[in-house]
């Protein structure tokens, strides 16, 4: 224990005596998340939309008039055939098309709920998601209003909850629409993965490069003491990054932590431990800092980005890649983060992910310790 403490203390001193990497470690999550924040926070100031009115009734015209009057809604015209939608999207004339089916008025008066199709240009994910919610909102609001009017006319209170018209959305080009809430936990994981692996990728190989390794190797310290001691301060630093990232997600993205902060810290600690151990592993097996850094970055960030379910759902991947995804710590961490942050789920309910994360979290430090050679 004494040696672990001494190594941890020494590593901590290295961290705080090197302001450049400390500042990088603390500001990088801010920078990455804020940059992303600006990127996704593009407000949709003007929503160009078109209509395909196959009903041509008083009700359909009322709906069009109603929506045209809404703030930010710019009506660009009507098309006769829903097939023309793609033409509009390709030219960029409209971002959304509302298809009012024939028989709309009849069915509304008959008291049935009429599905109204909303077609969205999904090529620009964030804009598409906004356009979708605007158009759906407007259609549904109109539908709800008709229901209320009908109820009032009939004097039937029971129909209050009814919905005369309901939007059914179909998104072109990008069926799995990315949403901010969905992205933030993944983003936190990627930033942590990258930072933790990057920071620890130097810690052993740097000692070899600077010659201080000889002092360590000539002392009777056990490899496990050294590796664990070196990991501890970086886990602490990683947890500070977690807090920063979560606070930014909350403030900037409006993604508050619904679940238990303690659960969040616990799973984050295991994840940071794993990511740091991966960096340390590369530090043990390389002979230059650059090589260790490159390997750590390449082997953590790229698979995490592509395979962890950060943006692309794991269930849509080929079976082999799904298997790969299961051994990535980020896959489980992201699932857990989404559970804790978005849904307020408890760890008990997500025990497979917790178990997998713990297993991977034990594996990597063990690998690093076994690959560490106390020889020159």
């Amino acid at each position: 224990m004494r040696r672990i403490r001494a190594v941890a203390r020494k590593e901590w001193l290295h961290i705080i005596r090197d302001p450049r990497s400390l500042i990088a470690a603390l500001t990088l999550p801010v920078v990455l998340l804020v940059l992303y924040g600006y990127a996704v926070n593009l407000d949709l100031n003007e929503l160009e939309w078109a209509v395909c009115d196959q009903d041509q009734s008083a009700t359909s015209r009322a709906l069009i008039a109603n929506m045209s009057g809404l703030e930010r809604f710019t009506f660009v015209g009507a098309i006769d055939d829903p097939e023309d939608t793609e033409q509009l999207f390709r030219l960029g004339t409209a971002r959304g098309v509302v298809v009012l089916p024939a028989g709309l008025e009849r069915d509304v008066f008959a008291g049935r709920t009429v599905p109204v199709q909303v077609l969205i240009d999904g090529s620009e994910g964030t804009i598409a998601s906004l356009a979708q919610s605007y158009l759906e909102g407007a259609v549904n609001a109109f539908g709800a209003q008709i229901s209320r009017d009908q109820a009032r006319r009939r004097g039937l209170a029971g129909a209050l909850g009814g919905q005369a018209i309901e939007a059914r959305t179909r998104i072109y080009y990008n069926p799995d629409l990315i949403s901010r809430k969905f992205l933030v936990p993944g983003l936190i994981a990627i930033v942590l993965m990258m930072l933790a692996a990057l920071l620890t990728s130097g810690v052993v190989v740097r000692e070899r490069e600077r010659g201080t390794f000889e002092l360590l190797a000539a002392s009777p310290i056990a490899p496990s003491d050294l590796i664990i001691g070196k990991l501890l301060p970086y886990i602490l630093l990683g947890l500070v990054d977690v807090v920063i990232a979560v606070v930014i997600g909350w403030v900037l993205f409006d993604v508050p932590v619904v679940g238990s902060p303690l659960a969040l810290i616990v799973v984050s600690a295991i994840f940071v431990l794993t990511a740091s151990a991966i960096g340390l592993f590369f530090s043990c097996v390389t002979s230059t800092q650059q090589a260790a850094m490159l390997l750590a970055l390449a082997s953590t960030v790229i698979p995490t980005m592509l395979l962890s379910g950060f943006a692309y759902p794991v269930r849509n991947m080929p079976l082999f890649l799904q298997g790969v995804a299961q051994v990535l710590p980020a896959t489980h961490y992201i699932a857990l983060l989404r559970g804790i942050i978005l849904r307020g789920a408890g760890l008990m309910h997500m025990w497979p992910n917790v178990a997998a994360l713990v297993a991977i979290g034990l594996l990597w430090p063990t690998v690093a310790i076994r690959r560490f050679r106390k020889a020159l």
Partner: protein
């Protein structure tokens, strides 16, 4: 009892044999010097002794512990100062020392006392809060020595401890070492400097991974054949030319304003002077000087230790 016993030590790096069947013993409280040219295998030998490399063959015993069988126990008994500065430049003198204390799991109260004593001895106490990277070369070496000594090792291994350190700091460093044998510490050091070799109790000459000779500085110097003469003249090339071809001439080395001549014959001084006068070369001085370790070194290396 011998503090260090090396028997039949062999180490290869791929095809290259860095050390070839090296055996020697170092008595307790002795200062033992490993002297040899660049690439002779000195650093490899030091690293083997320190347990940083595993040899291909042979035995090493340090303070009664078999280094190969129990390297960690051996490390507890030895202090090692590597050729490169191996302390943490961004840690202060005090922090570096504390770190080593924890590595060796020394009793903290005893270590605190040892730390204070070492800081005073090395005159580093004033700079205890200074980062090690900001120290001069000589002070870095003193700190390195302190770190190697703080766990009170029985054997101290110093790999070229004063290379690149100026004479003033070297003298201070040696003054610190001089007290250690009295405290029961055995020192094994390597050095490319001959004047430093002369400060050791016993020496081993190494070349191409083989041990050429061991002995005191005097014993080794006595192995130089012939008489060493220093000839001071304003025209050294003429001196050289006049002596060339003499059967008694074993070798010569040019110094700034003098030529060192090794002469194998009776009455060397008179013989050389006569020969120079006969050639009409004006000389200021011809005096007999003691053959130095450097001469012994050069001779032993060139003859492969056969003399």
């Amino acid at each position: 009892m011998n503090a260090v016993v090396v028997d039949g030590l062999t180490h290869r790096f791929g095809e290259v044999t860095a050390l070839d069947d090296v055996s020697f013993e170092v008595a307790e409280s002795e200062i033992f010097g490993l002297i040899g040219p660049d690439g002779a295998g000195k650093t490899t030998l030091m690293r083997l002794l320190a347990g940083l490399l595993t040899p291909n063959g042979g035995q090493i015993e340090l303070g009664g512990v078999d280094v190969l069988a129990d390297p960690e126990a051996a490390k507890q008994k030895l202090g090692y100062l590597s050729q490169v500065f191996s302390l943490y430049g961004d840690l202060t003198i005090g922090e570096n020392l504390d770190f080593v204390v924890e590595m060796f799991q020394e009793d903290r109260a005893v270590a605190a006392e040892a730390k204070q004593r070492l800081l005073e001895m090395t005159d580093l106490a004033r700079f205890v809060d200074r980062q090690a990277g900001r120290l001069s070369g000589g002070m870095k070496q003193k700190l390195g020595l302190s770190c190697a000594l703080i766990h009170r090792p029985q054997v101290l291994l110093l790999d070229e401890p004063t290379t690149g350190v100026d004479p003033l700091s070297r003298r201070d460093f040696w003054r610190l070492l001089a007290d250690l044998p009295g405290q029961g510490v055995t020192i094994v050091l390597s050095s490319p400097y001959m004047d430093e070799a002369a400060r050791c109790d016993r020496l081993a000459l190494i070349d191409h991974g083989r041990l050429l000779a061991t002995g005191t500085a005097d014993e080794l110097a006595a192995r130089v054949k012939g008489t060493m003469l220093e000839v001071v003249s304003r025209d050294l090339p003429a001196v050289s030319a006049a002596l060339a071809g003499a059967a008694e001439l074993l070798g010569e080395t040019t110094f700034g304003d003098a030529l060192h001549v090794r002469w194998d014959g009776p009455d060397a001084e008179a013989a050389v002077l006569a020969r120079l006068q006969a050639a009409g070369v004006a000389v200021q001085e011809v005096i007999e000087i003691e053959a130095g370790l450097e001469d012994a070194f050069v001779e032993l290396v060139s003859t492969g230790g056969a003399s």
